[in-house]
């Protein structure tokens, strides 16, 4: 099968020619292993053409002046990943029933090996994620990175912010102690104060006119199935647009006219 010409990749990643004197005699085991690895990657790539997409995603051009503020988006992404991983492991012990929820949360904290650590990461990670989102949003605003053609990415980002707040709200009930119970009562009644639709919205969240047997499981399902799915999908769209449109230069950077135009001015 003829091979397609490879798109350009950074020099550091290009296969190097053999040095003089190398390659004579027997092939060493590590060379065989490397060859096998390359062969396996090639096998997948020939059938999926993934490498082109990966190159497009990872080896993008970034403007001059890119600085530490530009890492806030990735930091938010990693905060989300930390929440996802710790959340999955917390779900292994958590029981979303009104009678057992508090006991199972207590069990995670006091009995499970590293349980307090994982639960703590999830709890404090939620706060860290909110802070990072607002810093990321502030960076985007003050650098003017929301302007044409990136408006849609700002809109997606705002939806992501709202979804994260929904995660924070629904997650707050799950420890099911006094604080989370009353905070949820208050939050639910705040929903109820919306004119016309408010009363029905509050009943939907509570699964009835009073805090009932299924309110907690409803919040749990929203917290770990409904919203995370939407978050992951929208994060994908957000990242696609970042890769597609590129990042903006910081506003303090002056535009440098191309070489030929500069000569013409003089």
């Amino acid at each position: 099968m003829p091979k397609l010409p490879a798109p350009p990749i950074p020099a550091a990643l290009k296969p190097k020619p053999k040095r003089p004197g190398e390659g004579n005699g027997k092939t060493k085991p590590h060379e065989v292993a490397a060859e096998a690895g390359i062969h396996a990657v090639d096998w997948v790539d020939e059938r999926t053409s993934l490498s082109g997409g990966l190159r497009w995603l990872m080896f993008r051009k970034v403007p001059k002046g890119t600085n530490w503020f530009y890492t806030l988006g990735s930091a938010t992404l990693f905060a989300f990943l930390a929440q996802a991983v710790t959340g999955v492991f917390l779900a292994m012990y958590y029981d979303p029933s009104a009678i057992h929820a508090y006991e199972s949360a207590r069990y995670i904290t006091n009995e499970v090996f590293l349980g307090q650590f994982v639960r703590g990461m999830h709890k404090w990670g939620a706060t860290v994620m909110m802070i990072l989102i607002f810093l990321h949003m502030g960076r985007t605003f003050f650098f003017g990175a929301y302007k044409y053609p990136r408006e849609l990415n700002w809109v997606i980002g705002v939806v992501l912010l709202v979804l994260t707040m929904v995660m924070a709200l629904t997650g707050y009930l799950l420890p099911f102690d006094q604080r989370s119970y009353w905070a949820t009562i208050v939050a639910d009644n705040i929903n109820g104060t919306g004119p016309l639709v408010g009363p029905y919205l509050a009943d939907f969240l509570r699964a009835g006119p009073e805090f009932g047997a299924t309110t907690l499981s409803r919040f749990y399902a929203i917290h770990m199935l409904l919203v995370p799915g939407a978050l992951i999908a929208l994060i994908g769209a957000h990242l696609y647009l970042v890769a597609k449109l590129g990042t903006t230069a910081p506003p303090w950077l002056k535009v440098e006219p191309p070489e030929e135009l500069r000569k013409a001015e003089v």
């Binding site: 009562i185 009644n189 705040i190 004119p195 009363p199 009943d203 939907f204 009835g208």
Partner: protein, 226 residues
Amino acid sequence: MADRRQAKSPYTEDRLIPGAFEGETVTRRRFMVGSVHAAGVAAAAAFTLPALGFALGPIFHRGRISWQDVGPLSDFPDTTYVPRVLTLTPDIGEVGKTTVYIRKHNPSIDGKPKDQYDNYVAISTKCMHLGCPVRYIEASQRFVCPCHGGVYDFQGKRAGGPPVRPLDRFYTRSANGRLEIGPRFSVNSELRRFSPRDPGQPLDGIGQYLYPRRFDTTNKPPGAKS
């Protein structure tokens, strides 16, 4: 950019399609595309609509009326409140319970009883600001909310702070010398009865129209006015 293709006649007969009827405009391709889309919509609706109804069902839930015995009538004076614990939702432990403050109807404060459910006053502890639990303070004869400083007078009417209406009440009735507590109802600032609403929803003036009643209408005792 103008379409360079020749404009096709909408009639299958003009386009020389075999088996065309006179006046027919739907080609087989169009028909098949339409049916496949319709089948897709039907299949998606077949799982989306039941799931949606399942999630929204509680909005239309009709609560059952239950009357709970809270003790002999002689337990409840007409000058102060006596706390009792009601079970609003059974089988979920402490979460399903609530405190309710009860006293005898006092004609010098409350006027004439409205009906047979008004001989005893049972005040809900749900604060009408955002639903925190209020406590009755004997010394000041006030209900006080710990969350945001809502204060209510002896009758449960708002005396200060953010609440938007008086404290909710429960229907009461006496049976065989014992007091029974029925469903909850809401009141506006003139203590007119309304079907039970959530905290934060005013019932005076335009409020009663902005915050419509629930779809379930059975949550009041037979014979009681809305």
